[in-house]
């Protein structure tokens, strides 16, 4: 009971500290931080990677690591952009993104489960394959005189003010329900206790792993079409650089894992994403150049959260 009380006090102290930092910072940059517009910007920035963080949360829940999420987003976003400009319209945007990412994620998970190659290594292999496919596509477009898929202005509503909040709301409800309130969510989390013990409890692990692929596909797909709608186009990347796309979501998930005991991880993720992006936003406002020291801060945050998240770890860690 005292533990509980202590926990509450801790939460209040942390929240108060965050608010205090925000206010002081706002004062320091002469009110540029806490403007309505900036907060709106901040929130929509946090929403897009939030979906990727939810997907990662499911990936981590069954004890895998998937580095290929960025490459999947690129492919899915391009498909989404391509279908968005056909007669299918918004339906195409959503179906294109979600369909492609679902297919790729299921394939990934199937590979992890069946090949016995450690998931993070296998996923790096898949990054190479997916990036190559993306360049094939982009080159093909170029030689036939077109550019890669780009959404025209009227089709980009999904990333605009009311729609993006609706998408977020739906995504949040879905993530929350699946993770906490469905058989499959529970099965996925059971896998995290070890494949063998889950099997002993009568859980069909292969089937579960494939379903996780489908679920992750939905979230990665959402992230993809939001990305495409937000930036109009996603250019393809080579040489494994697509992996950089998951760094910030990983930071959010790790922070959410630290807070897991206090806040449900699915709720924690958007909060943490907001926090992480808040830091970046602050740095930008403070004039720290992006592409240089901001990245250094991101690295530091990931390490710090990693240390926090692992502080009670007793198992052998590689």
């Amino acid at each position: 009971m005292t533990d509980n009380k202590k926990g509450h006090i801790q939460t209040i102290v942390i929240t108060a500290a965050i608010i205090a930092v925000c206010i002081i910072f706002n004062y320091a940059v002469s009110g540029k931080f806490l403007t309505g517009n900036n907060i709106k910007t901040l929130i929509s920035h946090a929403i897009i990677p939030c979906f990727m963080a939810w997907a990662l949360c499911f990936v981590f829940a069954c004890d895998f690591t998937d580095m290929s999420l960025g490459a999947v987003v690129i492919l899915a976003a391009n498909m989404s952009g391509f279908l968005g400009e056909t007669k299918l319209g918004y339906f195409g945007i959503i179906i294109g993104a979600v369909g492609v990412s679902m297919a790729l994620m299921v394939f990934n998970f199937f590979l992890f489960a069946k090949s016995k190659i450690p998931s993070w290594v296998a996923s790096i292999g898949m990054v190479m394959v997916y990036e190559a496919i993306a360049i094939f596509y982009s080159n093909h477009q170029l030689t036939s005189g077109k550019t890669i898929a780009q959404l025209s202005e009227p089709m980009r509503g999904l990333a605009k003010a009311p729609a993006i909040y609706v998408v977020f709301g739906i995504g949040f409800a879905l993530a929350y329900l699946i993770y906490n309130r469905t058989t499959i969510g529970l099965k996925v989390r059971a896998l995290g206790s070890g494949q063998k013990i889950a099997e002993a409890m009568g859980i069909d692990t292969v089937k579960t792993i494939i379903t996780v692929g489908i679920i992750c596909g939905i979230f990665v797909g959402c992230s993809a079409f939001l990305n495409e709608s937000y930036s109009a186009r996603i250019s393809v990347k080579t040489g494994l650089t697509s992996m950089t796309m998951i760094f910030q979501p990983i930071a959010s998930v790790m922070l959410a894992q630290v807070l897991k005991a206090k806040i449900n991880i699915i709720i924690g993720i958007p909060i943490c994403a907001l926090l992480v992006y808040g830091i970046f936003n602050m740095l930008t406002i403070a004039g720290v150049p992006s592409g240089t020291l901001q990245e250094a801060v991101l690295g530091l945050i990931v390490i710090a959260f990693g240390i926090l998240a692992q502080r009670k770890q007793k198992k052998v860690v590689k």
């Binding site: 469905t182 529970l186 099997e199 409890m201």
Partner: protein, 499 residues
Amino acid sequence: MNHILEVKGLCKYFGSTIANKNIDFTLKRGEIRGLAGENGSGKSTLLQQIAGIYLKDEGRMILNGKEYDPQNPLDAKNNKIGIVVQELGVLNTLPAGVNVFAGNWKQFSRFGIINMKKMYQKANDIFETYGLMKIPLNADCAEMSIESRKMLELARALSGNPDILILDEVTQSLSQNNREMLYQLIARLQKEGKTIVIITHDLEEMLEICDNITVLRDGEVITTKACSELDTDEIKRLMVGRQVNSAYYREDAVADYKEEVVLQAEHVNVPYTLNDISFELHRGEILGFCGLSDSGIHEIGTAVFGLSHDRTGSVTLTEGNILIKNELIAGKNGMAYVPKDRDGSALMIKDSILNNFVLPSTTELQGKCMYLSPAKLKRFAQNGVEEFNVKCNGIYQKMQDLSGGNKQKVNLGRWLLKDLNVLVLDCPTRGVDVSVKAYIYHVMSEVKKKGLSMILISDELPELLGMADRLIVMKDGCIKGEFIRGNNFTQEALIEVMV
């Protein structure tokens, strides 16, 4: 029909170990059956096959007159068989309330959404209706105490409203009032016409609550008798059965060690496991530790060797007055620890015999610049393999290809080649057959004569009685008694203190 379950000709092999040999076993409706037998006699294996955790190798089972062949624990649960296993089996990543219905969550879902409230409600109902100890249902299991986890497993077994409830050594990890609760629960279930199977090493407890008792020995059913025809002595006779060869263990009947104290443990505490342990180890002594599984005997080993980080109190090597703060100091000062989990924590199972053999001695074998001459290593390992009679195809064979006994020879042998002061042995003969056992005991006697002090932790009483100079009996993390060889050194006396 009166029989709820019939097992016919059941066999189960683990590699070359025959865990169950041609078992015939019948359960009557509404009876409380006890299963007695030495460690490793195949009790758990039998029951786990019934509960679908192990697949049977041969034989058949008939449940309620129908052929019954469970493929997984859910099958068993659906056939109304519930089990609480000996080793802990909970999903650490999920809350307790969810664990109660592990694998069976569908029943709460409507339109795909699970009604968590209903699940927790029902879990709560189970705890309430059966009067189980309350545990926080929405907390993750990872940090729960063993007793809470047992409660959870019990609730999970009961959640299927089983006709047959199997309890494998549940009582030993429960506190007294929870035990009382369990007894009442068993009595009540029996009244409802359920069948209950119990394994416990507390024979008096067993006689008290059971109707009939089946005795197993070496994987075979020896007999099944009504409790009224039995007493503890009779059960023990049936359990042990065989004549213990006198040459098997040490031959001397009295304690024999030097006065010199080699190692001293003072007020050793480890949160939740050890409680104010103090003892002395003398030169050339084999100091045995015995107790039930959760009594803390295994933690003695890790605590003495400096492996428990939250240990308080002191362990000192008298020579040079060295405080064993961690495993590095221990290793450097002639201590060695042979853990219980041989494959998991004592061997590099995928590496060669040679590499396993030389690992503890690399510091002694290295030349300048940490150089290890391959020829020297080869000679060392070859020598060890010959000295300890390891049956293998050469020193480059992989460890995992060896039989259990030979693995253990490597595991022990590599330490005995070193110049040690103190050797801590945790269950050194686990999963090893009679002849290798005899060989290990023989080697232990040899090194004892040379002045090596040993701490022998074991859950096999005959072994302890056969080998130890002194025996410390533990219960609930405390020292409960001490016996000296030749002085009331009997199994009965020990069990008296243990339970």
